[in-house]
Amino acid sequence: MELCYYPGCTLKTTAKNFELPAIASIEKLGHKMVELPRWNCCGTVHSLAADDLMHQLAPIRTLIRVSETGADKVVTLCAMCYNTLKQANKIILEDNEKRDRINNFLDEEKDYSGNVSVLHLLEFLRDEVGFEEIKKRVKRPLDDLKLSPYYGCLLLRPEGIGIDDIEAPRIMEDLIEALGGEAVDSPFKSECCGSYHTVDDIDPVIERTKMIIDDSNARGADAIVVGCPLCFYNLDYRQKDAKERYKEFNSIPIFYFTQILAIALGLDESTCAFGEHFVDPRPMLLNKNLVLSGWK
């Protein structure tokens, strides 16, 4: 199946190493991610924070681009893009007055009626590929790998937008188990990572990072798995600051879910560019016989 893929800014820049293993894995699973032509910004935090329609134009224009390709669904890799696109689509579906205003304003575009369904790649894996199927395709099971899923906020909230139960999500646990790993439950898996405070006030971000990572370490996790590039940034790069502030702080590798998927499917880990992570997971992976020893 050809899958209309909306990358968003991060996946094309700092998170390129989450996109490449995704594209390769999906191909391995028998589907093809086709990048949406002429995509623009998803609206990001502005469309979520502002109570006006102007800020919904960016995500809606993107959805119009999707429907122009003839696709009825679009998949994202980023939790923020997923959230903004899905919320914008919900406005179109549920509020006729707003829908008409937006359509009237976007007079050079075709009218949009909310017919595109927005998926996060995790949902696509669960609902369209199926974890049972993935389990069958695993080449390098993540044996002995204890992974603590971390969802953050945008994958789960608000109700009706999130991809799983807000309080007890299972989707990443189920993926980890399908790949042969062990999911380590953490009470902080749906807590905030500090989000965009990371650009103006890193203090709370360091504290959140420390709290989340300390807990996963205490529960015996080898690594944390995330589904949002911003969560990744805060949990990985801010470990540097946490380490400076707290001598006793123990670091832990962070994975994007597409990276563990690629490894388990037996793909070349070079697309994951683990060397760019602040905490390089390769020594740990090597320990578990999950990467080739030649990377050094």
Binding site: E159, D165, I166, E167, A168, P187, D215, A218, R219
Partner: protein
Amino acid sequence: MKRLGVFVCHCGLNISDTVDVKKVVETINKHPNVAYAVDYTYMCSDPGQEMIKSAIKEKKLDGVIVAACSPTLHEITFRNAIATAGLNPYQFENANIREQCSWVHKDKNTATEKAVEIIKSMIEKLKLNQSLTAINIPITKKALVIGGGISGMQAALDIANSGFEVILVEKTSSIGGRMSQLSETFPTLDCASCILTPKTVEVGHHPKIKLITYSEIEEVEGYLGNFKVKIKRKPAFVDWDKCTGCGLCSEKCPTNVPSEFDRNMGTRKAIYIPFPQAVPKKPVIDSKNCIYFKTGKCRLCEKQCPTDAIDYNQKETFIEENVGVIIVATGFDILSKENIGEYGYGKYKDVIDGLQFERLLSASGPTAGKIKRPSDGKIPEEVVFVQCVGSRDPEHGMPYCSKICCMYTAKHALLYKHAVHEGQAYVFYIDIRSGGKGYEEFVQRAIEDEEIVYLRGKVSKIFKDSGEDGKLIVWGVDTLTGKKIEISADMVVLAMAAVPNIGVKELAKKLKISTDAHGFITEAHPKLRPVETLTAGIFLTGCVQAPKDIPETVAQASGAAARAITILSKPELEMDPLISTVDEEICTGCGVCVEVCSYKARELNEIKKIAEVNEALCIGCGACISACPSNASIHKNFTKEQILRMIEEVT
């Protein structure tokens, strides 16, 4: 020709502001049938009614029209008035010139003309009205009470003590209800069992109360004064007539099952009496867990029983009873912890609900009254109580206040402090609702004397600490200081929302009574008819209507009983005769009317081959009249001829 009197009401300015009442009187006086017409400020007042009565006598009237408000307000007032003056009450018509005229028009001339037209059309109806007498229906002098909790028991006792027979049906094997699970009661801290057992014993021994436990309502037919009820008795697999309640069977039973009565914190046997003070004190076999029922072997209880009471072949039986009134008292349940994700969806053993805490406090509970936490039996040193879990929370579907939690949480925290002196109790609350005699003083006592820490705010999350000590971390907020609160607790007690008991919806369907958005039974009027349902002869009491505490429940039970006794104590029921009837000469017995009747008031007489009306069930809705293909269905005092003449008059 009938001599009619027309009485036009001003209703203060309600009518006279828009309708020229003097002109109405002047015009209507010219009508050939009108012998007398007059206007007055308030016709419904005593002097107004006196005017009507004396006019009937002086002007020798044989029919009265009051042109005033809607008949829903004062039709009965005026019927009674003309009856005392010696006229048949059905020689009266109410012309509605307020709701249907003065209130909806602006132009005085048009409104005045319309008022005259309305009165004229009512004159046409009244001209053909027949004198009717009320229908008398016999009453079965017996009450059915559904539910054997404190509410049902109190209602049953009140009715039985007034000399009427009562059938008390209880779903479980013993009466006692929720109250039997409680330890002590607020605000006096009386032991719940101590004040409950005298009631259960009295119910059990009352000569006028027939107790049918381990049974459910299967079918209900009939109507006010004459209900026919089919009761299903579930098989106990024990012949209760032979059983002496000695308990040997339970002692020897090898199967241990989580006890529902102890909220799954203790165990019971597969053959069991739910609690020591059960009434009747007779065991039942839980066939889902009994080894004999599962494998065909064991029969230990049978061997032990000194009176040969065990009967593995017992089947469900049905009992039929005729009753005059029904009282619904099926009580409440509490929302399951499994519904609350932020507190762990019920996965933490030491996060318990309020009823579980009652069992921990109870001397007959799983810990014999010692407060020990379920996971490891440790005496908890820090306990967090969380109020409004599910309640006052539209997100969880229960926007209402469960009413009892503020008080029982204060009681729980206080009893905890009495048991564990060095322990610390915290209470998270939204606000404290302690309306009731001695209630506020009780809460203050808990806060001030027992040093329980009350924190105003909600708990956002409960989770297990990563350490070995099994501590629960409670995250909350104190909205008075604006600070985030984190408490490392040994146990958490959730005051879960009160919800209707399971099965209430189905029962309501059988009884043809309605439930509200949350599944509680709807009362006939929230203020003025709080113990009645909209179906005549069916009353409600206790938490089946809405959450309430014991004193309120008991008071409501006595209220429902009193309303039931008002019916039972009448020699016969008087019903309005304005219902349908059949012209036997014309009726072909086609049966269309039987099908359209929603009230089961129509049946076919197979011998006469005609349809007949059950006068006690017919409410005079008119469905059969419009359905009848041969015009054999007639509405008394609302015949087709009357309607046509009324229309003719105004067109």
